[in-house]
């Protein structure tokens, strides 16, 4: 259970505010430059990357250390990208480039989540200026490793199916009906939940999520619960509220939450996950009563 140890070490100043490291120099050249030599162990601006590697899903993990020079504005993704050009360990051994996922590099696609110095974070928005000179990178826990820092997050999406995280439309066509009025205040709370990017960081940090469980009976986790909260509030999504609530009242549902509150601390989009879980607690209580007495 790597995740628990990691999340207990969480440095909230780092994880929560994102840019507490202060102003950085972004005044580097804007011209497209050819990558300069990054391998200069003597340079005092170099960092040591300790990467937990794994060649295949059933292979044994091992550690490798790389040393490379840091540039102003560097983040964990940019450093891993630079490493692809010179995949040579600190001992001078040429090795395969480190496999990792990244797409948008602006913290909206959710691809690059990994464990950085023991804490689950998006690698793209984790700036080197906020880290020490020795950086430990591991794959996101609670998900099967594909290779190196790549994990398979299929179970995250399976959980969205499990809770029926959709609105049941008659069809994706225009019904010529004006959109319902929604108060700005309600929009503002709903919108927070719609920022979820399915990165899996909340599941990685949650002590109740069992990385070994052969789904679909393990704890459903905060991400899918937040989507239940969001869709239950939607004018049409409300119609299927009982089905969604029943899904989270089943085994592995809401009551498996241990209230560790790690999820809300690590969420890079600051989604009020525990608030959602609290609201769902009330909704499921009402639903249970309705189930008992009819409504």
């Amino acid at each position: 259970m790597i995740g628990i140890a990691g999340s207990q070490q969480l440095d909230l100043r780092r994880v929560g505010t994102g840019y507490a490291g202060g102003t950085r120099d972004t005044r580097a050249s804007t011209r497209a430059g050819i990558e300069t030599q990054r391998q200069d162990p003597a340079d005092n601006q170099s960092v040591e990357l300790r990467v937990r590697r794994q060649d295949a899903p059933d292979a044994a993990p091992y550690w490798q250390t790389f040393r490379l020079r840091v540039r102003p504005g560097d983040n964990v993704v940019s450093v891993l990208r630079a490493l692809r050009l010179h995949p040579i360990t600190a001992d001078g051994e040429p090795v395969d480039p480190v496999a990792f996922e990244h797409n948008c590099m602006e913290e909206v696609c959710g691809a690059c989540a990994m464990l950085i110095d023991g804490a689950p974070r998006p690698a793209c928005s984790t700036l080197l200026a906020d880290l020490g000179t020795v950086i430990r990178l591991e794959p996101l826990p609670k998900f099967p490793v594909v290779r190196d820092l790549m994990v398979d997050r299929a179970r995250l999406f399976e959980r969205l199916s499990r809770v029926k995280a959709w609105v049941r439309l008659d069809g994706p066509w225009d019904t010529h009906e004006r959109a319902p009025r929604i108060a700005q205040r309600q929009w503002a709370t709903d919108y927070l939940y719609s920022r979820c990017m399915s990165c899996g960081i909340c599941l990685a940090a949650c002590p109740q999520v069992d990385g070994q469980a052969q789904d679909n009976n393990g704890f459903i986790g905060p991400a899918a619960l937040a989507q239940v909260r969001l869709l239950n509030a939607h004018p049409l999504g409300r119609y299927d509220k009982p089905e969604r609530l029943h899904a989270i009242m089943a085994q592995g549902g809401l009551t498996d939450c241990g209230n560790a509150q790690n999820c809300v601390r690590v969420c890079p989009k600051k989604i009020p996950l525990t608030t959602a879980i609290g609201e769902l607690g009330r909704q499921t209580t009402v639903q249970a009563l309705q189930d008992l007495f009819g409504a």
């Binding site: 990208r81 995949p87 959710g110 959709w166 066509w173 010529h176």
Partner: protein, 632 residues
């Protein structure tokens, strides 16, 4: 499950809309994506999606949306598809809303709309400043529901490598590679839809695009015979953050909501921007374009910033940067409407745009050009004929394209917030066209003999083998860097024929070198370098199409700017009011003569010696080009 089998390649907004339409029509969809769906570049769209609702008391109209789009694109778009897209926009918004998209609201609870560039009406619906992500949530959830019902089968972490064509040249399926096992496999289908996105990575790292926006898939289709249109028309977004790994987008909504672009009058002024008094700032967009000010279209804003920094040497500190300033606006207002981009800027630049102006510069953003697609004009409406199997059909029978990888809607320059619209609309239209296409098929792909499938698998495996065992010495990563630097400097915001000739020579040399790569990795499992190397080869071939198309178009149109052929607007008067003056009459004659020569679509076809470029006429049946673009 009855019905036929259709392959959709790409899990962004276009691909998911096509999937909804096709699966909704009772057919089975195999959805291919390079990664888990929801990680596509569509999620990066920020500012909004255009649709005329006229909720803001500004007398907006669909006719005006059509005119703004056509004129914004320098009249180069075929007009019936634009007309139909603008007419469909309000219905698309209502559909997204039903799906659960959290569109921002006005105080009385209606859909809010904001101002975007090249437009005088508030027409852009939005969900904070993460509109693309929110629209994706909507369609992703609908597709997940179809998946749960067994009507859609996702193939995530699979890369499309090539088409399978039968003896008659009809597309009968694809060959794809499992990015984990590296297995190469053929998938027969009765129709294929490419929704594979843009190609900003040709300019990396000076691009706002995700790492997957390589254009490799479109390039592969082009190399197998699909025509590629208007490749030279590529948009540079005026307001991207500075950065060495990526130049992150700061939405046009920042200007639409009141953001101002400026530089210190004295480029040597080293004071903090907040300490520079108004009188010592130069708001050059407001100065040069008083009518539209900061919300001029993107091509105009990008060139203006380019001119200030490169020609006038007036960039901040003499460098390639200008200020985008939100500090004069109400912080609560800015936070609620632009929160997502504020957060990106804070995280990556380390300063708060509410405290100090952002520093920005233009960066590669969006391909107006793309795979050539057909449409059928409906004489009754003047738009496209609903459900025609010709809509969004590429030049290869059975192959469709939608979203940014096609060339359909934006002419020579795309207006902000029209891309989420065209991605959604074109995906739906392509899906409906596929339904009609399937209805007309007599024999399905299952009846096609195995030979063409086996041949294409063998061809793709040979490419992999060559790369995995090759004795070359070129690094794919380094070749990509060289490609990005070359494209940025020679096929960028400002172009000239000598530079384009050089670019074509250099690209040919890059292509030769790319045939001799060393992967430095032999892993048979999840080998990312192999996939990357293949993409780089195909990116270089696509870059040649862009450079060759840019070379032949000897004029300035939208984002394609060759100063040598510029027709400067008359200094006195304005296009809208003074068309009768002698100066303007003369200008309009020259403008019309230039249109007679160049108002046509560039069409490239693949040949082993390099792209063959030809032209075809633009359908101008909706609105005759009557106004030069004048945003002053």
């Amino acid at each position: 499950m009855t019905g036929r089998r259709v392959i959709v390649v790409g899990g962004g907004l276009g691909g998911l809309w096509a999937t909804l339409a096709i699966a909704g029509g009772g057919h089975r969809v195999l959805l291919f994506s390079l990664f888990e769906v929801m990680r596509s570049h569509s999620v990066c769209a920020q500012g909004g999606i255009n649709a005329v609702l006229d909720y803001q008391g500004q007398h907006d109209s669909v006719a005006q949306h059509i005119r703004d789009t056509l004129k914004g694109g320098s009249w180069l778009a075929n007009q019936p598809p634009v007309k139909s897209m603008c007419e469909a926009a309000p219905g698309l918004i209502r559909t997204f809303e039903r799906m659960g998209v959290t569109f921002s609201r006005t105080p009385e609870g209606l859909l809010d709309q904001r101002l975007f560039g090249g437009v005088k009406h508030k027409r852009t619906c939005f969900a904070g400043a993460s509109t693309g992500q929110q629209l994706m949530h909507g369609v992703d959830q609908q597709v997940r529901r179809l998946e749960a019902e067994g009507r859609v089968e996702k193939h995530e972490w699979w890369e499309y490598l090539g088409l399978v064509k039968d003896g008659a040249g009809v597309c009968r399926g694809v060959v794809a590679m499992d990015l984990r096992s590296l297995g190469v496999q053929a998938f027969p289908a009765d129709a294929v839809v490419l929704a594979t996105g843009g190609l900003g990575q040709l300019y990396a790292p000076q691009t706002t695009c995700s790492t997957n926006s390589t254009g490799a898939a479109a390039s592969r289709a082009y190399q197998q015979g699909a025509r590629f249109a208007n490749a030279e028309l590529f948009q540079f977004h005026p307001t991207a953050m500075l950065g060495e790994d990526k130049t992150r987008l700061m939405s046009e909504a920042a200007r639409g909501e009141g953001g101002r672009v400026w530089v210190p009058k004295d480029p040597a002024d080293r004071r903090e921007p907040n300490r520079i008094p108004e009188a010592e700032r130069w708001y050059f967009l407001e100065d040069w374009y008083p009518a539209y000010g900061n919300t001029v279209p993107r091509d105009i804003a990008s060139r203006a910033i380019w001119r200030v920094c490169r020609e006038l040497k007036q960039g901040i500190g003499g460098g390639d940067r200008v200020y985008l300033d939100l500090t004069h606006l109400d912080p609560g207002f800015v936070e609620s409407r632009l929160g997502a981009i504020l957060s990106i800027y804070r995280k990556f630049a380390g300063t708060d745009p509410l405290d100090a102006p952002m520093e920005i510069f233009p960066a590669a953003h969006y391909a107006m050009g793309g795979l050539w697609v057909d449409f059928e004009r409906d004489p009754a409406s003047g738009g496209v004929k609903p459900g025609s199997p010709r809509n969004h059909a590429t030049s290869i029978a059975g192959l469709y394209a939608c979203g940014e990888c096609d060339y359909g809607y934006h002419g020579a320059n795309r207006l902000g917030a029209n891309s989420l619209l065209s991605a959604s609309y074109s995906g739906r239209v392509a899906g409906e066209a596929v339904l009609s296409h399937l209805a007309g098929i007599e024999r399905g792909a299952d009846a096609v003999p195995a030979a063409p499938f086996d041949a294409e698998v063998a061809r793709q495996q040979a490419i992999n083998r060559e790369l995995m065992t090759g004795q070359g010495n070129e690094s794919p990563y380094r070749l990509h860097e060289e490609l990005g630097a070359l494209m940025t400097s020679r096929v960028g915001v400002v172009r000239d024929n000598a530079g384009l000739d050089r670019a074509l020579e250099e690209l040919a040399a890059l292509e030769r070198r790319a045939a001799h790569m060393a992967l430095a990795e032999a892993s048979p499992w999840a080998n990312q370098t192999l996939a990357y190397a293949r993409q780089v080869q195909d990116m270089i071939r696509l870059a040649r199409v862009m450079a060759a198309s840019a070379r032949v178009r000897d004029e300035c149109r939208g984002a394609h700017y060759k100063p040598e052929f510029d027709l400067p607007l008359p200094q006195s008067g304005r296009s809208a009011q003074d068309l009768g003056s002698p100066e303007w009459s003369q200008y309009r004659e020259r403008w019309a003569a230039n249109n007679a020569r160049w108002l046509k679509t560039t069409v490239a076809e693949y040949s082993a010696d390099g792209p063959r470029i030809d032209f075809e006429p633009v359908d101008l049946s909706v609105l005759a080009p009557d106004q030069p673009r004048d945003y002053r």
